[in-house]
């Protein structure tokens, strides 16, 4: 991690995970009427601690190895347990997906705001005004 990355704190990782979660929730909403579709989501707490704990990431022993940490793989995906299973095998529950989607969007904006204020603070420090 370079110095600038540290200055931004956890916000970049949060935005990446929120984006992945948004993708999965969009897919759940899109597949609400697909038979046998299983709703999927990420465990945000576990994903966040993995993203922050660098020792749990794979190390490259050769510079030509692929870097599989970070954006390429994303957090592991889990299946949702439905509170009321439907007959066609679909486990999407619209109310849950909608609330999760909205919550995710609001938290994404919150992280964007934090990132914004950190950038503003850095700028103030650089200019010395």
């Amino acid at each position: 991690m370079s110095g600038l990355d540290k200055a931004f704190g956890v916000s970049p990782q949060v935005l990446a995970l929120r984006t992945q979660k948004l993708n999965l929730l969009s897919a759940n909403i899109a597949n609400a009427s697909t038979p046998d579709y299983k709703a999927r989501d990420i465990d945000f707490r576990a994903a966040m601690s993995t993203a922050l704990n660098e020792s749990s990431q794979l190390k490259r022993t050769h510079e030509q190895h692929f870097d599989i940490n970070g954006a390429t793989s994303g957090a592991p995906v889990k299946y949702r347990v439905p509170s009321q299973a439907s007959v066609d095998g679909n486990t999407v529950e619209m109310h849950r997906e909608h609330t999760a989607f909205m919550e995710n969007a609001v938290r994404y904006q919150a992280s964007a705001n934090f990132l914004d204020s950190k950038i503003r603070a850095l700028r103030t420090a650089i200019k010395g005004e």
Binding site: T19, Q20, N23, I29, S33, S73, A105, Y108, I119
Partner: protein, 141 residues
Amino acid sequence: MIMSLFNAINISATNLEAQTIRLNTVSSNLANANSVSGSEADTYKPLEPLFAPMLNQAQMGMSNEGAGVKVTAVMESNEPANKEYMPGHPLADEEGFIYTPAVDQAQEAAHMMDASQAYKSSVEAINTTKALIMRTLTIGR
């Protein structure tokens, strides 16, 4: 990251297309609910779209990204046509029967409600994602 947010828009857009096809089949079924014909083979068969998750060759269900939805086929229902004895009808066959499609109007209405709700949900998802993209573009301004 922005690319990935665009991906979410694409996923929701696949649902708009799928639900449009579904609404089209519902309209077609309801429009033809009362078309009479003189033989079982000529009778309109109710249409039914088949939905499946849209998986890329590379991901095949193992991916950590979301999958869209696609209509794999629009199938004709094999429900037998309704047979009615109406010897006076101009289209009646030699035994005096006419045939009407096996369209269940209540079921079609339910499909229509479900499709329009699903469509609205995805439109909402697209709008929210767009707001997030615009917000991301202004980080650091």
